[in-house]
Amino acid sequence: MISRVLAAFVLGFAVCLASFSMAPPAHAVLEVDVTKGKIDPLPIALPNFLGDNPDAQQYGVDITTVIGSNLERSGLFRPLPQVSYIEQINDFSQRPRFGDWRTIQAQALVTGRAVLQEDGRLRAEFRLWDIFGEQQILGLQFVTRPKNWRRIGHLISDAIYKAVTGEEGYFDTRIVFIDETGPKDARKKRLAIMDQDGFNIRNLTNGADLVLTPRFSPTSQEITYMSFAGNRPRVYLYNIETAQREIVGEFPNMSFSPRFSPDGQSVIMSLQQGGNSNIYVLDLRSRQTRQLTNSPAIDTAPSYSPDGGRIVFESDRDGTQQIYVMNADGSGQQRISFGKGRYSTPVWSPRGDNIAFTKLGGGRFSIGVMRPDGSGERILTEGFHNEGPTWAPNGRVVMFFRETPGSGGGPQLYSVDLTGYNERKVPTPNFASDPAWSPLLK
């Protein structure tokens, strides 16, 4: 429903522009291997997109800024300062003087223009050039309502990222999180949403009720989260488009730690009974629940594998918090974490190849990853308090929150590459926690 509405007005279409070169793309030259540890970022030239009139020129400059910022923060690109450019791009159909760009060490060049069409829509066109191969390797155009110009910047960023790395991008995405204001012993928490780069931030709840752990639907503009509304802590659904809120199910006790299934048709969560918490799955159409774990322990933080066949969760059934994997029907429960310390908040990568987690030990909180069989554990970041990883849709970047100590301390959002390099703070106006990355927008 929502994606159809969005598709209608956000983005018309992306079409390929005719290539200047008849030769096949020379990927052997322009290539970044994202699986390596420390990466030398690719030097890329990004002159401002052109425009026929002052308004179009301004959109051109703004879109270029978004692209440059995205590519720089990915850690895989190094946008070269515009003052260093020798050739001035004055015409979108101009073939670049590749020697001029080689002189300033550029390996890639993006040229583009913004056009305000007679129908009131904004069109942005761009070409990605391989400086050493001396050819165009990508040319696309996007059309949208002018107020959605940032999304054009994100889509072009994704296209460049994919052309150079061979991986899907993650720039045309959003983050849902908890906005935190007020002193530590009287925190106001609001459900909030923003673009992945921190722009277009919007509060979804007013702070009257304590809200926690929002998670995106993989298939619709919906969020599942926990709210203490009415002094009854329960799992809710929230529709981003309609702002409608509903309780996911009526249970005698607390429900918490929700997450959608990959097909968006179910919510998996913990139900509490006395001192015991078990994992249940709720079918959103029939509203039937099914119990998946039955241990005299705390079983929580469930997360599906991307194919929906398995579930990773944490349990203290063996004495302390550890990570377990089971089949989607609850069978075959098996512990996979055996390192020193406690393991918590497991999240399955959208690629299926890794599980991110919070690790507690020696008074420190780390974010790490391991393979679904528990092997290959690696710590991505470590410190006083890092918690709650969430994956970018391409499974290459993890976002989490980091608490600063002290009575005036609080949480802020950070991202780090799967390699453990390129740690970045994600800008938010207030303290922020419990981030959840959306899928690529439709």
């Binding site: 203490f228 918490f256 006395g274 929580t300 308090h385």
Partner: protein
């Protein structure tokens, strides 16, 4: 430390009462001298000041310590005496755990306290529970002396108490 926090709460609550009282009486009562005396038997303040409304837990534990059991015994005796009072036990965890687990851990703590009260003869229907995880710290330093205060179960009077 625990006592002083409870005392502060009383002082704050009392301040409101005295302001009201001040409207009808010309001489201003002394706040400190009054605080213990004005806890009317069977009132919420009586419960907090003279019985003790909270117990503490060890790290990652929900076992009731001997000190906690003493406080809960006093709570149960008071609740048996004032049989119309209903309470909610709030479970809490310190900040040195992850969010979801701490919610469940604090539910375990409030449940342990509730079960003890019930075993001591308080009707189950009079005692509800809620779990706040690490969301409501009362002590804010990053040291054990604060974290230990936050690992708590607080018995809150929700109805039926004598006013005053």
């Amino acid at each position: 430390m625990l006592r002083s926090i409870a005392g502060l709460k009383v002082a704050a609550a009392l301040a409101g009462v005295i302001v009201l009282a001040g409207c009808s009486k010309s001489d201003k009562p002394d706040l400190v001298a009054q605080s213990q005396q004005t806890a009317v038997p069977g009132s919420e303040r009586d419960f907090v000041v003279n019985v003790g409304d909270r117990i503490q837990f060890l790290v990652d534990q929900s076992t009731l310590t001997p000190e906690a059991q003493d406080i809960l015994r006093r709570q149960a005796a008071w609740l048996r005496q004032y049989a119309q009072v209903t309470v909610q036990v709030e479970g809490h965890a310190d900040e040195r755990g992850t969010r979801e687990y701490n919610i469940a851990l604090s539910a375990r703590r409030s449940t342990a306290a509730r079960e003890f009260l019930v075993a001591q003869g308080v009707q189950p229907s009079r005692v509800s529970t809620i779990a706040y995880g690490k969301e409501r710290p009362v002590a804010l330093c990053d040291a054990e002396q604060c974290w230990s205060q936050n690992r708590r179960a607080v018995t809150v009077v929700t109805g039926g108490a004598v006013s005053g």
